[in-house]
């Protein structure tokens, strides 16, 4: 569900870039405050792990289709929200550059959808409030707890499973919702808000369930083999964290707070479901309100000023004064209102320019064919064998 450059408007892309940059800056600050540079190599390698794991398909039982891991939730669980967010961001950067997954302008939106929601919403509100309780007491740094919880990994693993599943579902639902809102407010798709929502949310509910089971499986596998990896991140003030941050005792109010957050999380899910239902029965009202809220008609066209400037510019330098947007008063929606004559001239001119571009490309590339040193690339490849010893 990567957003693409071609579906996003510059304003939406810019806003999401700003939001992502803010979240990243905050994460970096938090990591610095918590003196977490221990995690630096772990982040790099874990990002690479997710990158590799995403490439392996598994079959989804009962459907005949196959899927792959998303991995945002695993990163949040194993690295904590801040390092997890930065790691997801870095994976998305590499994918945007090498596989053109998404694109550069939409990168901010993609990092936000796939990183912010799992790390800063689903992880602290859902995962931690469910799984954290089962794991408290698993280390010397934790506050004294009833001995029952201590040393019974069976119970902890049981808490991990529903926590991972619910958190994955919520994270993906919010991410999909983000995609819908960003696409609609970009104003490039004609898909009505409610229809798009009904398309995206159920699909991502299914994906979220599968993702949740896989996440739960991997996390409990890791927990059974090496419980110390998880305790540092799930239990706030757990052994790893408290060793570094100077034994900060956990505030007494935490359990109550957790309950509140859990209820809030559940409410959010219920609201989402009701909201979707509402969307299907009252599409018009909802559409209207969303268009009002996001102001998409205005937002999608940052250029009314630009258009005005352009038409002035054009009047000044125009050698065909009667073409195109001669009326600066109505800069918006030129096409539908435009007469066939200038559409045809656009068609002809566009085709002609395309030919010119093709000819230019042909000559440039032909020149390259003659000029290219034949061995440069081969020689580069031979000399490449990197040293991967670690």
């Amino acid at each position: 569900m990567h957003m693409a450059d071609t579906l996003i408007s510059p304003v939406v892309g810019g806003v999401m870039w700003a939001a992502t940059a803010g979240a990243a800056a905050y994460s970096m600050k938090k990591m610095k405050d918590e003196f977490d540079d221990r995690k630096v190599p772990l982040m790099g390698v874990m990002g690479a792990f997710i990158f590799a794991a995403q490439m392996i398909n598994f079959s989804i039982p009962g459907t005949g289709s196959s899927g792959h891991l998303g991995g945002g939730m695993i990163l949040a669980i194993l690295l904590g929200p801040f390092a997890g967010f930065l790691t997801i961001a870095s994976v998305l950067v590499v994918q945007a550059l090498f596989f053109a997954d998404g694109g550069l302008l939409a990168l901010g939106a993609n990092i936000f959808n796939l990183g912010f929601f799992p790390c800063f919403v689903a992880f602290p509100l859902i995962f931690r409030s469910i799984a954290g309780r089962g794991l408290v007491g698993g280390g010397p740094g934790a506050v004294q707890q009833d001995a029952g919880a201590h040393g019974s990994p069976g119970r902890s693993v049981k808490a991990l499973v529903p926590a991972s599943i619910l958190a994955s579902i919520v994270g993906l639902q919010l991410g999909a919702f983000g995609v819908v809102v960003e696409t609609i407010s970009s104003g490039i798709s004609n898909l009505p808000f409610s229809k798009f929502l009904l398309l995206m949310q159920p699909i991502h509910l299914a994906i979220g369930v599968v993702e949740g089971f896989v996440t739960a499986g991997i996390v409990s596998y890791v927990y059974r083999a090496k419980p110390d990896i998880l305790e540092g991140s799930i239990v706030r003030g757990g052994p790893a964290a408290s060793a570094l941050s100077g034994d900060r005792p956990r505030p007494a109010a935490r359990p109550a707070m957790r309950k509140v957050l859990l209820v809030l999380g559940a409410l959010a899910v219920v609201t989402g479901v009701v909201f979707s239902w509402f969307a299907s029965t009252h599409p018009d009202g909802l559409e209207w309100s969303v268009f009002r809220v996001t102001g998409s008609e205005e937002v999608a066209r940052p250029g009314s000023g630009i258009h005005a400037f352009a038409s002035r510019l054009q009047e000044r330098m125009s050698f065909l004064p009667d073409y195109g947007f001669k009326k600066a008063a109505e800069p918006v929606n030129r096409w539908p209102a435009v007469d066939a004559g200038s559409s045809v001239s656009g068609l002809v001119g566009g085709a002609f320019t395309l030919c010119l571009a093709g000819i230019a490309g042909f000559f440039l590339l032909k020149k390259r064919g003659f000029a290219k040193g034949r061995s440069r690339r081969a020689e580069g490849r031979a000399g490449k064998t990197p040293r991967w010893e670690s």
């Binding site: 392996i56 550069l104 302008l105 896989v214 250029g303």
Partner: protein, 295 residues
């Protein structure tokens, strides 16, 4: 597993292209990043029904590919794998927007088809610009460039480490997947109950590897930053070198280097052209001229 190997092959292919030494390759990475972003912003800022005015933007990828000695096939090959999400979202436009914009003979062209075509044209332009950026720069040099543009060092270090270990871990995953495939009779993807311990085992190996790496880094004096030349161990060289590993070091070492004339020229000319294409619909004027000439 096939996907693992092919994705690594794709990365290596782009990385190999980045080691040419053309005019475009020698440009400052900052200039290329800014020009690419300006290009994408200009392209996506058009009205959703605009196609003709987008065509002149093709000159930028063609110029970069041509002057950079990069085969267009490398880009076209990747363009053909159309993003399913883009098609999924775009294909609804013809269904919902049925305003007839133009009639050619008996054929009515609706707004939905025009905007769908515009989405595809913008897709071609934005994706090829992004791919050519990496193919003409290389990841390490690009990281040096964005760090100089102000991206925090912590994040750049994260990108460098991630990139470094992508090759290691995809290799490891690929080995494991091959071993599993050789021992199973059924073709096709593994079941979830196989995948979970598979990924879990890979993850445990990953974590152990990270611990070894961290010990090794500490032993070599790691303090949270990458030193110039850390990726290659050789003295940094000026400009884009043929040695991928030294590029980040070289780019970092050039921290104080100012923009050269050719960098400024490249950026200035192209950004002005983007602005010109944005505000003046050259193809429409051209078409008008041609139509008049034709009578």
């Amino acid at each position: 597993m096939g996907k693992l190997d092919s994705s690594i092959r794709e990365i290596r292919e782009l990385e190999n292209l980045a080691r040419e030494t053309s005019f475009v390759h020698r440009l400052d990475p900052r200039v290329k990043v800014i020009a690419t972003f300006a290009f994408i912003a200009a392209v996506v800022s058009f009205d959703r029904y605009e196609i003709a005015a987008l065509v002149p933007y093709l000159f930028f990828p063609i110029f970069v590919a041509g002057a950079g000695g990069l085969p267009l096939s490398a880009v076209v090959k990747r363009l053909l794998v159309l993003s399913p999400f883009v098609v999924l979202v775009g294909i609804f436009n013809p269904l919902y927007d049925r305003t007839v914009l133009l009639r050619i003979g008996g054929l009515a062209i609706t707004g939905g088809w025009v905007s769908f075509a515009a989405i595809l044209v913008r897709y071609v332009l934005t994706v090829s610009a992004a791919l050519l950026l990496i193919a003409s720069t290389g990841f390490y040099t690009l990281c040096g460039g964005i760090e100089r543009l102000g991206v925090p060092k912590v994040f750049v270090v994260q990108l460098l480490l991630l990139y470094r270990y992508i090759f290691v871990l995809t290799d490891e995953a690929s080995r494991m997947a091959r071993a599993r495939a050789q021992r199973s009779f059924r073709r096709g993807p593994m079941e979830i109950r196989v995948f979970v311990p598979f990924a879990g085992a890979l993850l445990l190996r990953t974590v152990e590897r990270a611990q070894r790496i961290y010990q090794a880094m500490l032993a070599r004096g790691f303090d949270g930053t990458m030193k110039a030349g850390a990726f290659g161990g050789v003295a940094p060289r000026a400009g884009s070198s043929g040695d991928e590993a030294g590029d980040y070091g070289a780019a970092r070492a050039n921290l104080g280097r100012s923009i050269r004339f050719s960098d400024a020229l490249f950026l200035g000319v192209w950004v002005s052209l983007f602005a010109l294409f944005r505000f003046v619909n050259l193809p429409a004027m051209l078409g008008d001229l041609l139509l008049r000439a034709a009578g």
